[in-house]
Symmetry: C2
Subunit: 259 residues, 2 copies
Amino acid sequence: MKDKPLILVTNDDGITAPGIKALVEAVKHLGEVVIVAPDSPQSAMGHAVTISKPLRLEKTKLYGDIVSYQCSGTPADCVKIAVDKVLHRKPDLLVSGINHGSNSSINILYSGTMSAAMEGAIEGIPAVGFSLCDFSIDADFSLAAKIASSVAQNVITNGLPIGVLLNVNIPKVPIETFKGTKVCRQAIAKWEEDFDERHDPNGKKYYWLTGKFVNYDKGEDTDEWALANGYASIVPVQFDLTAHNAIAIITQWNIEYEN
Amino acid sequence: MKDKPLILVTNDDGITAPGIKALVEAVKHLGEVVIVAPDSPQSAMGHAVTISKPLRLEKTKLYGDIVSYQCSGTPADCVKIAVDKVLHRKPDLLVSGINHGSNSSINILYSGTMSAAMEGAIEGIPAVGFSLCDFSIDADFSLAAKIASSVAQNVITNGLPIGVLLNVNIPKVPIETFKGTKVCRQAIAKWEEDFDERHDPNGKKYYWLTGKFVNYDKGEDTDEWALANGYASIVPVQFDLTAHNAIAIITQWNIEYEN
């Protein structure tokens, strides 16, 4: 008899966030679930790991019978410590999220949710990050949870190509108008920064990072297009960042180093 | 008459690190240099950005006539605030480093040095990250500086393909045995974590992240091979993480969401 799949659940909004609770509910029938998630919100942490201070790892009772730990580190730290100190083996699936807010397009690079999934993929674990395009604390995760459940089942059944993880974003739409899922490429987009300049009580300047997200990509095969048109986007993602087509171009350069 | 190129210099080891000093010296003859770098070390920050607290930005006199600012944020923050609040325009080149320690292979994802370069590339700035495979504070940056100077000159002269930045690593070898530069792909490698478990004075456990880097990639066209064989590695990097080949595979899945 085959053992039940071992499923590691993590996120970046912290172990008490409604999004991770929805994700646990969505996947718990698919295998043995273990939760290792940050003890506090870690949004916009990118792929940070904690090397300059030690980590804490504490067992919690937040999820009843489901084994759960909170960790003082980043989402990538949670995956690393889960594999080494909690599971003592590679899980069969890693799911991260459901994030409160979109992680489409270039936001994958800033996203703690996706950094956890990417850390899993680097370690050879089939991994998926889920994000709902709704920042509010009382967002409705019901549609996102259904999609998470089905995507997780598909990954368990079909596996993922080597070196590939998934970035799944779910639009904020009522299920009645939802159009289904669409496998996409990452849109070419960026943040146009606008730092909000203020003065502290001592008269010294400080700055809040603000800005607006701008999609320059007119393609109808992108995650941004899918989300804007009522679809959930599924982007297959790789952690080999080599721009293979550029190798031949750069090879022609003449790099000098002798005087 | 064409204006001199505007060159933004940043890093992740902090504005006083010997590596950034070497980089400033290496590129200052190529254009007008402006430095905006972290006020404290930011290693392993990945592509983190600071959204939960405000940033400080202060002019320094550390570099004499060269305009320099220290910022309380991450390397990616430094690039964002430099463009918006210091330069008020897109620079012609961004150089990040020279990092004290390697950022080859998968380490690009954890690297603050490379996140600054990637942030530049997302903003449309030709960008290069430089790292010397020597962690020591009194490392010899002379060879790395020569390569940085020549690579920077090449980027100014030739430009970079759209969406491409460069990850340049320089081996710790005497210039006499240095074999030259090699344009490579990112090696398939990973960290094998091993958390060092300790007890605090109250008897509670805590963990230090340790581990060893393992290269699984036997290819002779990788950055790891180049560095191990006395070459500096130049990897062209892209921030479109889409695994384009996987789109057709995942499209065949059946994702259910209706009960």
